[in-house]
């Protein structure tokens, strides 16, 4: 009896903790404010993009820097332009901010990305 009560208490504590942590990491971007939200898929099918977006960006970065082709289809600027959301006041929110498009998955899978130490995180730059 005591044991089960202990389990229930710890479960409740865990749930409360999860809730509190969830609140602290609340998203600041408003749902539906990114251009991508109104589109059916990205430049390729969503499952493909989930697995291969980094390959596309890596390829594009070389042809942009060395060959001067800056088409926006596979460019990082294109990603940011389409996937950045706005906050309640209409101000763009960084795509790598907690809970935003890039950070949401990368934080989950603990993959640290280096794009945004140099590249801008909001459409059109700061």
């Amino acid at each position: 009896m005591m044991a089960s009560r202990k389990i229930i208490t710890s479960l409740l504590t865990a749930l409360t903790l999860l809730f509190v942590v969830g609140l602290t990491y609340a998203e600041t971007g408003v749902k539906g404010t990114a251009k991508a939200d109104s589109l059916e898929s990205c430049v390729a099918e969503t499952p493909f993009m989930r697995r291969n977006h980094f390959e596309l960006i890596l390829h594009q970065r070389d042809i942009t820097v060395h060959e001067g082709i800056r088409k926006t289809d596979d460019s990082l600027a294109g990603c940011v332009d389409c996937h950045a959301r706005s906050d309640a006041a209409g101000k763009p929110v960084a795509v790598n901010a907690q809970g935003e498009f890039c950070a949401a998955c990368h934080d989950q899978v603990a993959v640290s990305i280096d794009c945004f130490s140099c590249h801008t995180t909001i459409p059109g730059g700061e």
Partner: protein, 253 residues
């Protein structure tokens, strides 16, 4: 089943290649015109070499319009002094793509002011010394840093006779889309490459110079303003003794 290549396919490819060669070779001027109109769809070629002629007699003493236009275009004005740095340190470390240089002939006391930036050499020392291939010369003559492969060793800064390169010492908070920038990489003038790739034909410094001291264009196009100016004026390369064949030339120094 035959192992011979499909002759029909081979013949077709032959004709197609011939046709392509005709369209690219014959109307060269037409191709140049279309390249200037829209964002680039094909890789840069060595049919073009971007270059600049600076008339130092038109460059006014005390004017820094080209420097501030460059700062704005390439996001250098967004940089803020790092915490804890003194004004003096910041003045030394602040990245600069164009430096306004004043020179004086001690015999005649003649003072000349000129903008000094990456000279976009044909044989760039910065490319020679780069251990990773990050410092490179694009086919159209623009010398650039591929910051994806730059490790920040700064050999290129040592090698450059023009002191054209800057190093980013601290994390950057504010960036332009067209001018990515981050801690630990070297950078320098790239002839406003984002403008050229998007079909532009001018640089920010040239647009800002109200004295018309800067002429920019394709050195290989005999009809371009810069090629014609180079033909009519006596121009020099700075440190011509190094035989780097610079893309930036000066006149009336």
């Amino acid at each position: 089943m035959s192992t011979q290549p499909d002759k029909g396919r081979r013949a077709f490819l032959g004709t197609a290649a011939g046709a392509a060669a005709l369209t690219t070779v014959a109307p060269g001027v037409f191709l140049h015109a279309t390249a200037n109109a829209a964002p680039r769809a094909d890789a840069v070629t060595d049919q073009v070499r971007w270059g600049m002629l600076i008339d130092t007699s038109k460059c006014a003493d005390g004017c820094s319009d080209c420097v501030s236009a460059c700062d704005k275009e390439n996001g250098l004005d967004l940089m803020i002094k790092p915490e804890g740095a003194t004004d003096e340190q910041w003045a030394q470390q602040k990245p600069r793509w164009i430096r306004s240089v004043t020179i004086k002939d001690n015999l005649t006391d003649r003072v000349t002011t000129l903008p000094m930036m990456c000279q976009h050499c044909e044989h760039p020392p910065c490319v020679d010394v780069c251990p990773t291939g990050a410092s490179f010369r694009r086919d159209d003559g623009i010398v650039m840093v591929d910051r994806h492969t730059c490790i920040g060793c700064r050999y290129c800064m040592m090698a450059c006779p023009y002191k054209a390169r800057s190093f980013i010492h601290e994390n950057i908070q504010l960036k332009e889309t067209a001018a990515p920038r981050g801690k630990g990489c070297v950078e320098s003038c790239n002839f406003c490459v984002h403008r050229l790739d998007d079909g532009g034909t001018t640089t920010a410094c040239q647009d800002a110079c109200e004295h018309e001291a800067i002429v920019f264009g394709d050195l290989k196009d005999p009809g371009s303003a810069v090629a014609q100016a180079l033909q009519s004026y006596d121009s020099v390369q700075i440190r011509a003794d190094l035989k780097l064949n610079t893309g930036v030339r000066y006149t009336k120094i």
